[in-house]
C-alpha cells in the first residue's frame, strides 16, 4: 500500500489540476514534485526514517580502513534499492599503474560494432530509456561484452541545452550510470564499464529545435579492446 502512496497522490494532483490553464509540462512537474513529497511524508509517518544522527567517534567519522570513501549510513539507501547504485570500478583509466589506458585509447566503435554500440536517447530531464528497442540494444551489447572479455567501454552521458550547465553535468552522470547498471544487471563485468558525464558541453547537434535537443539527450559509447592493444 505504502509502495503506491506516491502514485495515488500523483493521480490526485493530476485530477485536481486538470482544469487549470497551466501547460502540460507545468502540471507534470507539479505532479512529480507533490507525489515525491507525499511519498516521503508517508515514509516519515510509518517511522521509516530518522531525522538526525550523531557521529559518535573519530573512528565512525573516518570509516573502515578498506573503504575508499566514507559511505553514508542513511537508512534511505538501504531500503530504497529499486534504484540500484553500483560503485564505479576502482581502477582509474590512464592513472599511473593502471592497466586501463586513458580515454585517448578508447575509440568510437567502427564497422560491425557501430551498429551494436548505437547512441541511446532520453526524454527531457529523464534518465530512463523509453524505447523497447534500446533495451534490446543493451542486451546485445551485454552479450557481446560477456563473449569478448577484453572489451572495456566508456559510457558518456549528454544533455540538451535547456537546463543549466552545472545541473546537466550531474544529470549526465545519472544517464551514464543508468546504462552502466543495465549492462551490469545483464552480467557484464562492472570493472569493464566506465561512465563519464559531459552535461551539455558537447552537443552532437548545434541546433536549437526540439529535434536537435532530442539528438543531444543521449549516451555514447567508446570501446577499448585490450587484446588488440600494443
Amino acid at each position: 500500500m505504502k509502495k503506491y502512496s506516491w502514485l495515488f497522490a500523483a493521480l490526485g494532483i493530476a485530477f485536481l489540476t486538470s482544469s487549470c490553464q497551466s501547460n502540460s509540462n507545468t502540471v507534470w512537474e507539479d505532479t512529480k514534485t507533490m507525489g515525491r513529497y507525499l511519498h516521503r511524508k508517508g515514509q516519515l509517518l510509518w517511522k521509516q526514517d530518522v531525522d538526525s544522527k550523531m557521529i559518535e567517534s573519530a573512528d565512525e567519522f573516518n570509516g573502515p580502513q578498506e573503504e575508499e570513501y566514507i559511505p553514508l549510513k542513511d537508512e534511505d539507501l538501504r531500503r530504497q534499492f529499486a534504484d540500484t547504485s553500483i560503485p564505479q570500478p576502482k581502477e582509474v583509466p590512464g592513472a599511473i599503474g593502471s592497466s586501463i589506458p586513458s580515454i585517448d585509447q578508447f575509440v568510437k566503435p567502427a564497422s560491425h560494432l557501430a551498429s551494436l554500440y548505437q547512441n541511446l536517447y532520453f526524454n527531457t530531464d529523464e534518465h530512463v530509456l523509453r524505447s523497447k528497442e534500446y533495451y534490446k540494444n543493451i542486451a546485445n551489447i551485454a552479450e557481446y561484452m560477456k563473449k569478448n572479455n577484453d572489451t572495456y567501454i566508456f559510457v558518456s552521458g549528454h544533455c540538451d541545452e535547456r537546463a543549466s550547465e552545472a545541473y546537466n553535468l550531474a544529470l549526465g552522470t545519472r544517464r551514464a550510470n543508468t546504462i552502466r547498471n543495465l549492462l551490469i544487471k545483464r552480467g557484464v563485468n562492472p570493472n569493464h564499464i566506465y561512465t563519464i558525464s559531459f552535461g551539455k558541453e558537447m552537443p552532437s547537434d548545434l541546433g536549437h529545435t526540439q529535434e536537435a535537443w532530442a539528438k543531444n539527450r543521449r549516451v555514447e559509447f567508446k570501446i577499448f579492446e585490450k587484446k588488440g592493444s600494443k
Binding site: E29, D30, K32, T33, M34, R36, Y37, R40, D51, S52, M54, I55, S57, A58, F61, N62, G63, E67, E68, Y69, I70, P71, L72, D74, D76, L77, A82, D83, S85, P87, Q88, K90, V92, G94, A95, S102, I103, F106, E161, A163, S164, E165, A166, Y167, L169, A170, L171, T173, R174, A176, N177, R180, N181, Y194, T195, I196, S197, F198, E201, H208
Partner: protein, 422 residues
C-alpha cells in the same frame, strides 16, 4: 531627505556609513596630467579609474561642482598620488604614491588598486577592483575527423581585461576555483575539473604551469568542486557510488587532502549538483531534484562530535529549476539561477528576509553566479545560441555590464576571494 553623514578619523580613515542614504555618493575626479606619459595614455588610465568608481556600487562620478567627494589626481614623474576631499567637511586625506610603468596591463592593475584604496576612504570598505577572475573558455578545435570541443582555464582582472590562458591541457577543463587560503600546498595554485584521462577529475595547478595534476583519490566522475571560506573543506559531486552524490573532503592548505572523501548526501533516482558552503563551513547548500524539479537544499556539514541532520531542508520555493547556488561571503545571501517565464535568471535569496529576489531580466539565460569578496557584486555567464559571455552586476546597480567578448564560450566564472580581513 536630510542626509546625516557621520565623518570621523577613526584609525586614520574617513568613514562614511551609507546605510542611511538611499542613493550613491557623488565623486568628481580631476584630469590626470604629467610629462612622463602621453595625454592619450593618461586619459585612458583615468578612464579605468572612472569605470571602477562608477561600478563599485557605492558612488559614481559627476563632472560638476558640489559632489560629495573630490579626488585631485597628481602625477609626479611616474608616481601617481591623490588628494581626497570630503567637500562638505573640508576634510582631506592623501593617497599614494603609486608607481606607474607605462605598460597598460600593469598600470590598469595599479589603477584598480588605487581605486580599492580610494573606496576604503570613501566607504570604509576596500573595493574589489584589484581582484581577479578565473573562468573557462570553450572552443571547437579542428581534427581530421571534424572538430572536437576543447576548454581551457583563463584568468582576467575583475573587469574582464588582461585575460591570460592559465592551462594548456589540450583537454576539456571547467569549474575553476581559487584557493581561499595560501599554504605550502595551495600557494599560487587553483583547482579545476579536467577531462584529460576521460572521467572528469579535480586537478590542482599553478598559475605559472600549463598543466596540473589530480589530487583526490576517488573513483568515478568528480564534478563541481567548491571550497569553504576557511579553505579546510572541499565539497563536490561524484558518482563513485553509482549515483550523483554530494561529497566533502577535509583539506589542509599545507598538506592537501586529509583523510578520505565523505559521502554527505545521496538519494535514489535523483541528481545532486553544485554545492556551496556557508561561510562558517557548517552548512552546505546544493541542488537536488529529489522532490521533482531541481531546487536548492541545505544540509549540515558532517564533522566529528556534531549532531548533523541527514535530511536536507528545501530552501527555494518560488521558482522552478533552481540551480548553481553561490553563498555570499558575508553569509546573508544566496545567488542562484532559476527559471522565470521560461528564461534562467539570477535570483538572490536573502536569509534575513527569506525573500527570493530576481536580480536580472532580459532574454538571455544566465547561470553560474559568483560573488565578489564584498558580497555586493556578482559575475555570471549568459548562455545564448550564438555566444556565452561574462557579465558583472551589483545589488545596488542592477544594470549588468558585459565584461568579455571575442571567440569562445566563456563560462564557470570564479571570483578571487579576499585572503584575510576585508
Amino acid at each position: 531627505m536630510q542626509l546625516s553623514l557621520l565623518f570621523s578619523f577613526e584609525e586614520k580613515e574617513l568613514v562614511v556609513p551609507l546605510s542611511t542614504r538611499s542613493f550613491l555618493s557623488t565623486v568628481s575626479v580631476s584630469p590626470l596630467k604629467g610629462s612622463s606619459f602621453s595625454e592619450e595614455y593618461l586619459a585612458e588610465l583615468r578612464n579605468v579609474l572612472l569605470v571602477d568608481i562608477n561600478r563599485n556600487g557605492s558612488c559614481f562620478v559627476e563632472a560638476r561642482d558640489g559632489t560629495d567627494f573630490h579626488v585631485d589626481l597628481e602625477l609626479t614623474g611616474k608616481g601617481l598620488s591623490a588628494l581626497v576631499e570630503l567637500k562638505r567637511g573640508g576634510v582631506t586625506k592623501t593617497l599614494g604614491p603609486y608607481s606607474l610603468c607605462g605598460s597598460l596591463p600593469s598600470d590598469r592593475r595599479i589603477l584598480h588598486t588605487f581605486h580599492d584604496d580610494l573606496a576604503q576612504i570613501i566607504t570604509g570598505k576596500r573595493g574589489i577592483a584589484s581582484t581577479r577572475l578565473l573562468f573557462a573558455i570553450q572552443f571547437p578545435e579542428k581534427t581530421p575527423q571534424g572538430y572536437e570541443w576543447r576548454s581551457e582555464i583563463w584568468e582576467s582582472d575583475y573587469d574582464g581585461e588582461n585575460t591570460r590562458q592559465v592551462t594548456q591541457e589540450r583537454s576539456y577543463c571547467i569549474n575553476p576555483v581559487f584557493f581561499s587560503s595560501e599554504g605550502e600546498f595551495t600557494k599560487g595554485k587553483f583547482m579545476y575539473v579536467n577531462y584529460k584521462k576521460g572521467q572528469p577529475k579535480i586537478y590542482i595547478s599553478s598559475f605559472d604551469s600549463p598543466r596540473g595534476n589530480p589530487f583526490l583519490s576517488l573513483r568515478g566522475n568528480q564534478l563541481l568542486p567548491t571550497l569553504s571560506q576557511k579553505g579546510d573543506l572541499i565539497a563536490f559531486i561524484s558518482d563513485a557510488s553509482g549515483r550523483a552524490d554530494l561529497f566533502i573532503q577535509l583539506f589542509s592548505r599545507n598538506h592537501g587532502p586529509v583523510g578520505k572523501p565523505i559521502q554527505v548526501f545521496s538519494y535514489p533516482k535523483s541528481v545532486q549538483a553544485s554545492p556551496t558552503f556557508r561561510p562558517d563551513g557548517k552548512k552546505i547548500a546544493f541542488v537536488s531534484d529529489k522532490n521533482g524539479t531541481p531546487r536548492i537544499f541545505l544540509i549540515d556539514t558532517p564533522y566529528p562530535g556534531r549532531d548533523v541532520s541527514t535530511h536536507p531542508i528545501c530552501l527555494t520555493k518560488n521558482y522552478r529549476h533552481n540551480t548553481c547556488p553561490a553563498w555570499s561571503p558575508d553569509g546573508t545571501k544566496l545567488a542562484y539561477s532559476a527559471m522565470i517565464d521560461g528564461i534562467r535568471q539570477i535570483v538572490v535569496y536573502d536569509f534575513l528576509t527569506q525573500e527570493e529576489i530576481p536580480l536580472t531580466r532580459g532574454s538571455s539565460h544566465k547561470e553560474n553566479p559568483t560573488w565578489a569578496p564584498n558580497s555586493l557584486h556578482i559575475i555570471y555567464n549568459t548562455v545564448d545560441h550564438s555566444s556565452s559571455e561574462l557579465y558583472i552586476i551589483n545589488l545596488k546597480q542592477k544594470e549588468p555590464l558585459q565584461i568579455t567578448s571575442g571567440p569562445g564560450k566563456k563560462h564557470y566564472p570564479a571570483w578571487e576571494p579576499t585572503r584575510g580581513p576585508l
